[in-house]
């Protein structure tokens, strides 16, 4: 047996076999360290995603590329490290184009799961909306490059029976993507192909006809967290305040109204809520103009035209607290699918070139009275300061009202893992 050494993780003394992978040792001792590229027995470990960044003997670095040595001092749960790991996951979301509601892997996706675990409500980074072509050319697989986090798993692990690689990185820098070898892919058995899809921690590698295998509620990450105390962290304590009636305004900008529907989806609780809140300007009341200042403004949808921007700015002026509700409002969401394509191309495709149009009669609408389209869909936070973000597409009603009650009356709450969802 290998020599045992003493290390310390967040002050807890631990004995472990010398030379073992630190992340493994930490996990076995009950420490939650998020990881995406790592899996057991890879030698050398991949060390690409950097999600497992901790501080080792005073220096930041990934836990998964460290061998346990005598006297090793490891910090895992210091606030700055927790935030750094969060930021790296956020980077992946802002770098790729992740539209979870339309993704085959949603609910079975490691990236999404880690984001739930880290309670990421929005990314601190602007979304980059890089244009990438999806590769449908191989017989059985689709490569959805928008979702790849370049973890290298597929490159290293998916080999044909004669040992040839099926996947390989192409290009470099921010142009890097994972290329697929059509010829080698064809040599994989169906089982191997499905294994390739499963090995991918995101929805990049899709085997045609084999995705969407599980219904909502039964997917890998629908129900339970990997952390014992998920969501139990105390959020602002109740001051035992009297539940004064508050004034709420809402708006649906470039969204589908789904978030508003979700807002109403609290069954009979709605009756209690009506006692507590008064809706002012809102599509729910059809009040078009602000009658007075509001305690809270709730915004669904991002900004796709100049009118959205005007409305949003007015909300900022008239509301004490402004909340982005749902993915579209937070970063653009589904309408932002157009953001990787220049506006002109979108319009021409929709109004001029599409099959159902009569080319001779078609024009692209433009009139003084119709709002002007922006070159892309903007997140609300790019236009005004947003105070809080409630993620989801749509966010669940439970999540919405817990958050809002907390904001308005400081009610204590914890979000369940099953309530914190993007799709």
């Amino acid at each position: 047996m290998a020599k045992m050494v003493n290390i310390e993780i967040d002050g807890l003394p631990i004995q472990a076999e010398e030379g073992r992978n630190l992340i493994q040792v930490a996990k076995e001792n009950g420490f939650f360290i998020p990881s995406l590229c790592y899996y057991e027995n890879m030698d050398p470990p991949l060390g690409t995603c950097r999600t497992c960044t901790c501080r080792i003997n005073g220096k930041p670095g990934p836990a998964c590329t460290e061998k346990v040595r005598e006297g090793m001092q490891v910090e895992v749960n210091k606030a700055d490290l927790v935030d750094m790991r969060k930021s790296i996951i956020e980077m992946m979301f802002s770098e790729g184009n992740h539209f979870c509601p339309s993704c085959e892997k949603s609910g079975n996706c490691d990236l999404q799961h880690i984001a739930y675990e880290l309670e990421i409500s929005h990314t601190r980074f602007p979304h980059l909306f890089k244009d990438r072509l999806i590769d449908y050319n191989s017989k059985r697989m689709v490569m959805e490059h928008n979702r790849c986090i370049k973890c290298r798993r597929c490159v290293e692990e998916v080999l044909t029976d004669d040992g040839k690689r099926v996947f390989m990185y192409m290009n470099r820098g921010n142009e890097t993507f994972v290329g697929i070898d059509y010829e080698q892919e064809a040599k994989l058995s169906e089982e191997q192909a499905i294994n390739a899809m499963n090995i991918c921690p995101t929805g990049t590698i899709i085997v045609k006809g084999k995705s969407f295998s599980k219904p909502f509620g039964q997917r890998a990450f629908d129900l339970s967290s990997s952390q014992k105390n998920y969501g139990k962290k105390p959020v602002k304590l109740s001051r035992g305040a009297v539940m004064e009636k508050k004034i709420v305004a809402t708006a649906s900008l470039a969204g589908c109204f789904g978030c508003h529907m979700s807002l109403l989806d609290v069954d009979t609780d709605l009756l209690d809520l009506i006692e507590l809140v008064e809706f002012n300007k809102s599509p729910l009341t059809d009040i078009k103009k602000f009658a007075h200042r509001c305690h809270i403004g709730i915004i669904e949808g991002g900004c796709c035209n100049d009118e959205n921007i005007e409305v949003l700015r007015e909300f900022r002026e008239k509301c004490d607290i402004l909340v982005s509700l749902g993915e579209c409002s937070i970063w653009g969401g589904l309408p932002a699918m157009r953001n990787t394509v220049p506006l002109g191309e979108c319009l021409e495709e929709a109004y001029l070139n599409s099959f159902s149009n009569d080319a001779a009669k078609s024009t692209i609408p433009y009139h003084e009275d119709i709002p002007k389209l922006l070159n892309r869909v903007y997140a609300c936070s790019e236009i005004v300061k947003i105070d809080y973000f409630i993620p989801g597409c749509p966010p669940s009603a439970g999540h919405i009202w817990k958050a809002i009650k907390n904001l308005l009356w400081h009610e204590e709450y914890s979000i369940l893992y099953s309530e914190f969802k993007y799709d």
Partner: protein, 590 residues
């Protein structure tokens, strides 16, 4: 083990190490790597096509589309921009008929831009069919392209870049005085490996590739590895923009480099040496190779070197194919193995498992040259120079806004002010030390010394090899954007913080350039830069944001002046350029 038809690999190297060479050969002879070639190489190397293609697309001198009969790579580094890049580019476009990044209609010229080609002292400069052309201007470009059109070969009409050695210490030059060939080997061979290590330890020689790792430690660690096969590798990838010292060393003192490597082989028990020369320096290859062959003829390379029975040492050159990150030592190893130049993790060190997973010493050109000189002239004369704790001299490539760009071999301990005076800097304002990945300093710090004592209480400046001067007319935000663009492009793309981080920071700088940034944006840049520094996988991502962080501290006023004016700000409203945002749609107004 690879034998057939070529003597370019050592017998211990596997065929796979030859892939990059073969791709370069095809690129040079056919102008691109066609689908057919990808297939035939995949077959020959017994790997999948996608793997070959992955290698091809990593390096910017390898192309998947035809590049024309003559390929022009015009340097687009900042120094080139300062010296007139735009006009030279226009001139190339006009004369060749090719737009930047493409091939003209007749397929004669391909015109591409490329980051620093190691000629910052003679910019604007370009490589045409990899032959250097320097101090370009519109007229010169016209003449060059006309001659080529009339059948002249770039090889015959190219320039010979001067060494521009502007300054060496009065106490004697370590690097550029005459070198008595063979003497350092004679002296070193009289010592045991342990004694050689001891000498190096006393010399306090530390790696000159930028990281300043004590050379003796690396050598000793490799020496102690038990392995039949070990390698000595010279990192001559010199890709840090503004750095050209290794170019000058190779051009003028190749013998020193070769002897330094042989001493390394003798000390560590390695019998093979490889010089990884950056693709941009192909024009230096012949000269270097000639020197190597001379050493073979003199019996100082090959079997039983210098009559020392049982000591064999072979040396070859490996050409790079265009990728800054390959200067990172483990990326360099990957590249030598015929792969994409992606840095390895720190799970194994090169001294344990380096090239072909064998113990390997990797040192910079200047480091090997210093070793050779130490054994040629003796430790004393080396240690006399410099200052206590930082003995010897350092070669600095100076460029930018100064009248005398070129090579300055300074004794450690010289101040920035002295160096600026020597090179006749014009109105210096922003000084970049060690290239974009180094640090920037303001004139307030001009009395800081340049030495290896930077970690002590005395805040000296450590210089990897470049000093670039920018005067007060230069747009600081533009400089930093250019750096960010460089790193975005040169990142290997394998780890998240560097691949996405450089891109994100570039976007923020755009905002700053457009006058839409707020104080919060500056805070963001700082915080994001720190995330990159802490979590990136290799030195590229860790150092990329250095200058940005420093510039924001040292030139704070400059940044504040560029922010969105506060008197235009309404509370909670973010600055937004509505006109720009609706411009695309306004095109449909009839």
């Amino acid at each position: 083990m690879y034998q057939p038809g070529t003597d370019r690999l050592f017998e211990v190297e596997p065929l796979s190490s030859y892939l990059l060479n073969e791709l370069r050969d095809i690129q040079m002879s056919e102008g691109y790597i066609s689908d057919e070639k990808i297939s035939s190489l995949a077959h020959k190397y017994d790997i999948s096509k996608v793997e070959v293609e992955g290698v091809v697309t990593f390096y910017h001198f390898l192309h998947r589309k035809p590049t024309g009969r003559h390929v022009v790579y015009l340097n687009n580094s900042l120094t080139s921009v300062i010296k007139g890049y735009e006009r030279v580019k226009e001139s190339f476009e006009r004369e060749t008929g090719a737009l930047m990044g493409s091939v003209d209609r007749t397929g004669t010229f391909g015109l591409f831009s490329t980051p620093c080609i190691g000629l910052s002292d003679q910019e604007p400069a370009a490589l045409i069919d990899f032959y250097p052309f320097i101090n370009l201007n519109a007229i010169k470009v016209k003449d060059i392209i006309n001659s080529i059109k009339q059948g002249a070969s770039p090889a015959d009409i190219c320039d010979y870049p001067a060494d521009n050695i502007r300054y060496t210490p009065i106490s004697g030059s370590v690097f550029f005085s005459d070198f008595k060939e063979g003497l350092s080997l004679e002296n070193a061979f009289r010592l045991s490996p342990e004694e050689i290590i001891e000498e190096l330890k006393k010399s306090q020689l530390a790696g000159r590739g930028g990281a300043f790792f004590p050379t003796w430690m690396k050598w000793d660690a490799t020496r102690k590895q038990e392995s039949r096969l070990k390698f000595i590798i010279c990192n001559a990838d010199e890709g840090e923009p503004g750095t050209f010292k290794d170019r000058v060393l190779i051009n003028s003192q190749a013998a020193m480099l070769i002897e330094g490597m042989i001493i390394g082989g003798n000390t560590a028990g390695a019998s093979y040496g490889i010089i990884y020369l950056r693709g941009e320096y192909l024009w230096l290859e012949e000269k270097l190779n000639t020197k190597i062959q001379e050493y073979y003829q003199k019996g100082l390379l090959g079997k039983n070197i210098g009559g020392k029975a049982g000591f064999d040492f072979d040396l070859r050159i490996q050409m790079g194919a265009g990728a800054y990150v390959c200067g990172e030592e483990t990326a360099l190893l990957e590249s030598m193995e015929g792969k994409r130049g992606e840095p390895r993790t720190k799970w194994y060190l090169p001294v344990e498992k380096g090239y072909l997973q064998m113990p390997t010493i990797i040192n910079n050109v200047e480091t090997f040259c210093a070793v050779a000189r130490i054994f040629e002239q003796g430790l004393e004369s080396y240690c006399e120079k410099g200052i206590p704790g930082s003995p010897g001299t350092k070669i600095i490539s100076v460029s930018g806004d100064c009248s005398l760009p070129g090579i300055y071999e300074i004794e450690w301990g010289m101040t920035v002010a002295e160096l600026l005076e020597l090179c006749e800097a014009n109105n210096p304002y922003f000084i970049q030390v060690s290239g974009p990945s180094g640090e920037c300093i303001s004139m307030k710090e001009k009395y800081r010394r340049i030495s290896m004592l930077d970690l002590l209480a005395r805040k000296d400046i450590r210089c990897g090899g470049a000093l670039t001067v920018y005067n007060s007319d230069r747009d600081l935000i533009m400089i930093l954007s250019k750096y960010a663009e460089f790193f975005k492009h040169e990142s290997c793309g394998i780890c998240t913080p560097c691949r996405a981080g450089n891109y994100l920071i570039e976007r923020k700088l755009d905002k700053l350039k457009n006058g839409l940034a707020s104080g919060e944006d500056l805070e963001d840049i700082k915080s994001w830069a720190n995330i990159m520094k802490a979590s990136s996988r290799c030195g590229l991502g860790k150092t990329a944001p250095n200058s940005m962080i420093m510039a924001m501290e040292k030139f704070a006023d400059y940044f504040y002046k560029r922010l969105y004016p506060t008197d235009n700000q309404h509370e909670g409203i973010v600055a937004f350029d509505m006109e720009a945002a609706i411009a695309d749609y306004e095109k449909y107004k009839n």
